[in-house]
Amino acid sequence: MNLVIRKREESLGWGVLVVYLGALALAFCVCALLLKMSGKPGFGGLAILFRGAFGQTYALLDGLVKAIPIFLCALGVALSFRMQVWNIGAEGQFALGAVGATWAALTFPGLPGVALMPLMLLCAMLAGAAWGAIPAALRLRLGVSEVISSLMLNYIGILLLEYLVFGVWKDPASFGFPMTAEFASGGQIARILPGVLGKLHWGLLACPVAGVAYWVLLSRTRLGFEIAAAGEGERVARYAQLPYGFLVFFVMGLGGALSGLAGSIETSATLGRLQPTIMVGYGYTAIVVAWLARLRPWAIAFTAYLLAAFRVGGEVMQLELQVPAAFGPIMEGAILLCVLAGQFFLTYSVSLRPSPKAARPAPPANDANDAAKGARS
């Protein structure tokens, strides 16, 4: 018997769902196995995780709160992935966004909220965009791979944030804790309905705005078509006379701005001040989300919520089973690996055929190669 691998001619339809569910199931089995290996209940642990994620209203709301920064960062990442530009610097751009917003909040505490809030968001987006533009510039002017430079800027951005919070921005009244002073009330994003909707805050509004803008940009504008076309590769893009350099700058800058926005919302809504604890790896989760969602905005929204909910459930499991926090990245890594492998079946079909040797007499020596090719196609 021979394995016959063929490129699919039409899409799988509902089969896509089966592939994804299968990949998720496999990833969960791996996670359960790991829990079991460390002496915890395997699937029982996952049950706790699911109950923690989806069991109560406040857990659902908490998931939504965590989904906000993940969604924004994932949109930013997806934008550059569209173009095959591997911006993995969302984490650093998120940090710079938080720094930018904090700078505005600490420098102009006297401004009224209507002026301060937009200023903070603007500073955050500019800082994030600048951080994203560095790898773009390095790649275009000097030919430096954006994968490594954007990743290095993650480390540098987080250390910059720590430098500021441990140093010049440290609140004298914080008893030595690394945190800035609390922002003026105009610099804090309020909760929507604290009694009813828990920690859910107005930063949520940024998501539909950014999501619709992303969709319009990519499917309704010339620029969007150019980005999609440039995704075929630099040589193709230059041959088609697309402004490749500008497009790289654009996707990296806008992606950085979105991640920066996420950073400012997170700082100003959940903490009301800057603390190193806001860096919990949303920028890396965003990469997982963008790829799982195959870069489509609706799917990004859904996947961002799903992974945010797993984070919430993971925290519950951490408390109940004393599982280390590192379980989160393991799960995300396992899911991404399994889905990545599973996506093979979206492009290719695999079937078993009797081997050609058994079915036919041996072809003449000269045609052996062609015959083998024919049998496989």
Binding site: G143, I148, G333
Partner: protein, 310 residues
């Protein structure tokens, strides 16, 4: 600075450069065969833990080293499976591998945090260690450092002087031509990824068995990414990898000394040094690659999966 201090600094650079050297060599082997592996950071983390745990349980540093190498091979096997069999994107798979590997090391290692292990001790090489200046810098280290002196030569020999190495390079430059020549590029690539994983694993093992001698979380600390960058700096050549590893070892050692000396430069700024240097080194290598030939020294089919026909 006194001469003794400078000698001590150089010796520390050699030591700190060794794990980076192993990881860089591993990534060179993998990339020469055409597979980009951005999971090095995860591979280092996991193999550091595997080496620690085996050494801790058996008391044998050599078994620990072997476990580190095998853990690296195993994790890279996952990368090979996802990219070569299921044709997953190499960049994304590598990132997933990093998430998974670093997470797994932290997860499994939590009960062991702060525990010490014997690991490899320092052995002065007779005669050679008495040479002034060079002796203390090069020949008063642990066995793994000495292994690190041989490794670049071995990798160079493998890649440039054996038919297996020729096959590996063919699989990385033009897999279709390799296949036409009767080689099996998929198998060669798998070998490159797995052997590369073993070498990266040795680098990880070095961290827990010879560098810290104890288990803490975050042991890899970005070294894997530095290694990925150094492959570009080295133009995919083992000899130049040595220079890069020494440079980074030097910066890391220097930064540690400075911190220990109680300087008033904030530690967050000092910790930025290796990461900033990585970017600078990349800029420098890109400029040099351009003035040399206009083309980079990267294998032509690097990062491109071999698709099934039909």
């Amino acid at each position: 600075m006194s001469p003794e201090l400078i000698i001590a600094l150089f010796a520390a650079a050699v030591q700190a450069g060794t794990p980076i050297l192993f990881a860089t060599l591993g990534e060179i082997v993998s990339e020469k065969a055409g597979v980009m592996n951005l999971g090095v950071e995860g591979v280092i983390a996991l193999s550091a833990f595997a080496a620690f745990v085996v050494c801790h349980l058996t008391g044998s540093a050599w078994l620990g080293l072997l476990a580190g190498g095998l853990a690296g091979t195993l994790l890279c096997g996952l990368h090979s499976l996802v990219c070569q069999v299921f044709l997953g994107n190499q960049v994304v798979s590598g990132l997933a591998l990093t998430l998974f590997g670093v997470g797994l090391a932290t997860f499994l290692g939590t009960p062991y945090v702060g525990q010490a292990t014997e690991g490899f001790g320092k052995i002065a090489v007779p005669l050679l260690s008495d040479i002034p200046v060079l002796g203390p810098i090069l020949f008063r280290h642990d066995t793994l450092v000495y292994l690190g002196y041989i490794a670049p030569v071995a990798v160079w020999f493998l890649l440039n002087r054996t038919s297996l190495g020729l096959g590996l390079r063919a699989a990385g430059e033009m897999p279709a031509a390799a296949a036409a020549a009767g080689l099996n590029p998929q198998r060669l690539r798998a070998f490159g990824v797995l052997a590369g994983g073993f070498l990266c694993g040795l680098g990880g093992a070095y961290l827990s068995l010879a560098h810290t001698h104890l288990w803490t979380t975050g042991l890899s600390g970005g070294r894997g990414w530095v290694a990925v960058a150094l492959v570009i700096f080295a133009f995919w050549r083992p000899g130049r990898a040595v220079i890069g590893a020494l440079l980074f070892g030097g910066v890391m050692a220097f930064q540690l000394r400075l911190q220990a000396s109680g300087t008033n430069i904030p530690s967050s700024l000092l910790l930025m040094l290796p990461y900033a240097l990585t970017v600078i080194v990349l800029v420098f290598s890109a400029a040099r690659a351009r003035e040399r030939s206009g083309a980079s020294a990267a294998p032509a089919a690097l990062g491109v999966n071999i698709e099934p026909e039909g």
